[in-house]
């Protein structure tokens, strides 16, 4: 159980986290989604006791993150961003240190280390120095470290960043597995990840929570309106000509190249067959389409749009 009430964190003048409140129940898997610099990492650092909030309160399992910091840290497993590890130690030595630091009784240590390394697929590299490992293995060492004491709560900061597609698949499978028994908060800036593993999403932008809900609902909102990049040849083409078509909602950009070569970016109103409509419209007007590419909105645009909506 995680309760956050009106938490603000200032770094000098910058409000990294700005009046954030939320509540996460036992056994939930929650995704913290947002562009870089949205305050996700800061929020996680506050929950794990690495930073203290400038104002506001947060409690984990009824322990206050300031007054009972050590008790909070005992019940939380944490994978920091970029999975920092001790390069000069071997995987085995490192996990042994963590097991000791987590005060796992000596007779159980070997078994727990074995278990964590099996869950994360580290069996073959236990004797290797961490500096010789690939990014994917380092990330797994970081996860093994976080789950060593089988904490009730797992806080994972961008667990899949920097992994290749196969490793991402493995990591997501692992996250799903962990989600069955634990409360998990994970941060990401990849929308698909949230849809794949989380039961609920919190969206942060500029230090605030701008939206919250089930992943499929949020994903629907986030996909935005269809958008196309068109390359056409035409005698003469202005913004007004484009807007004259009923299904064009907005002309994002229009530029003219050599010999009547135009490049335009449009947002259309029709959700389903705007591609067809665009094509028919161009033929009718005698424009020659050279290429037509549907473009997704960038995450930054989506987040700023969501922020605007939240503000209205």
């Amino acid at each position: 159980m995680i309760e956050v009430e009106n938490v603000t964190k200032l770094y000098g003048e910058v409000r990294a986290v700005d009046g954030v409140s939320f509540r996460i129940g036992k056994g939930e898997v929650v995704g913290l989604l947002g562009p870089n610099g949205a305050g996700k990492t800061t929020m996680m650092r506050i929950l794990t006791g690495y930073h203290l909030p400038s104002s506001g309160r947060a409690r984990i399992n009824d322990y206050d993150i300031y007054a009972d910091s050590v008790a909070v840290r005992r019940s939380v497993g944490y994978l920091p961003e970029n999975a920092p590890v001790y390069d000069e130690l071997t995987v085995g030595e490192y996990l042994e240190f963590i097991a000791g630091a987590r005060a796992i009784p000596r007779p159980e240590r070997a078994e727990r280390i074995e278990e964590a390394s099996r869950t994360c697929g580290l069996g073959s590299v236990m004797e290797q120095t961490i500096s010789t490992l690939s990014k994917g293995y380092r990330q797994r060492v970081g996860v093994a470290q976080a789950i060593m004491h089988s904490p009730e709560i797992l806080i994972l900061d961008e667990p899949t960043t920097g992994l290749d597609p196969n490793q991402i698949k493995d990591m997501r499978r692992l996250l799903k597995e962990l989600g069955n028994t634990k409360t998990v908060i994970l941060s990401t800036h990849v929308l698909g990840e949230v849809e794949a593993v989380c039961g609920r999403v919190l969206i942060m932008n500029k230090g605030k929570i701008v939206a919250e809900g089930a992943p499929d609902v949020i994903a629907g909102k986030l996909k935005g309106k269809p958008r196309f990049r068109l390359e056409m040849r035409a005698a003469e083409l202005g913004k007004a000509d484009l807007l004259a078509a009923k299904f064009v909602a907005e002309v994002v950009s229009l530029s003219r190249g050599e010999k009547g070569h135009y490049t335009a970016e449009l947002i259309t109103t029709d959700e389903r067959n705007s591609g067809e409509l665009l094509f028919d419209w161009a033929v009718e007007r005698g424009y020659k389409i050279i290429s037509m590419v549907p473009v997704g909105m960038s995450l930054e645009e989506i987040f700023s749009q969501l922020t605007r909506e939240a503000g209205e």
Binding site: Y11, R45, T48, G49, Y50, H51, L52, V70, A71, R73, R74, V76, Y78, P80, E81, N82, P84, V85, Y86, D87, E88, L89, E93, F97, I98, G100, A101, R102, A103, T129, Q145
Partner: protein
């Protein structure tokens, strides 16, 4: 011992990263060369190790910072402090754990110098009292230097900065009393400089005296720097 795992981890880091070997080798080689070759001990016809131990504070200026420079600066650069500070340790446990590890390395180095007096003892009429006192002084002085080095590392940007700042800091605090040899200061000021100086407090050990004021001085300095280090760590969370 709650900080035991930290001690073990630090010692592994010292030896895996070979810093322990380099520092030990430098210490032993420099000390012996100074004593036997530059001071020409064997030609001096005195049965005293004073010449050896008087150089120890100077060797410390270069070796102790090399041991402590990584303690916090390197953790922060690699981001591993985020792991360390979110493990269920109190700040002082981490600080003491790191200090104990560096202190054990110091004890190891001290132990490795023992063969030198042992080979010299049969050559003359040495007194064991002064030598034991000198060892005690060497260990206490080293502890204070290590605590200071860790404190510097806690706020330095990287390990090179930590090294240089610690060298400068140790140089000043070790040789503060030497100012009195250069200029004629008013009595109270020269007293203050003497009181602050590591070397000044070390000299009585060098004579074979164990003065509780000097022991107390080194213990207090060590404790003070360790306390300050844990305050710096806590303060960083508020940033």
């Amino acid at each position: 011992m709650s900080f035991g795992p930290v001690v073990r981890k630090e010692i592994r880091s010292y030896f895996n990263s070979s810093i322990a070997y380099i520092v030990t080798l430098f210490f032993l080689l420099f000390g012996s060369l100074w004593f036997l070759y530059l001071q020409r001990f064997l030609y001096q016809n005195v049965a005293s190790m004073q010449g050896y131990f008087s150089i120890v504070p100077i060797i410390y200026i270069l070796t102790l910072p090399a041991v402590t420079m990584r303690t916090w600066a390197e953790e922060r650069r690699r981001g591993t402090d985020e792991i360390l500070l979110t493990l269920p340790f109190k700040e002082w446990e981490l600080v003491v754990g790191k200090f104990v590890a560096s202190f054990l390395l110091l004890l190891l180095i001290a132990a490795l110098t023992v063969p030198l007096p042992l080979t010299l003892l049969p050559l003359g009429d040495f007194q064991s009292g002064p030598i034991l006192g000198e060892y005690l002084g060497m260990i206490l002085l080293g502890a204070a230097g290590l605590a200071m080095g860790q404190f510097v590392s806690a706020f330095a940007v990287n390990q090179i900065t930590a090294f240089i700042l610690s060298v400068v800091g140790l140089l000043i605090i070790t040789l503060a009393d030497q100012v009195n040899a250069l200029v004629n200061l008013p009595g109270w000021l020269s007293g203050v400089l003497n009181y602050l100086s590591f070397r000044f407090h070390f000299t009585s050990f060098d004579k074979g005296l164990i003065d509780s004021r000097d022991v107390g001085y080194f213990v207090v300095v060590t404790g003070l720097f360790l306390y300050l280090t844990s305050r710096v760590l806590l303060l960083r969370k508020w940033r």
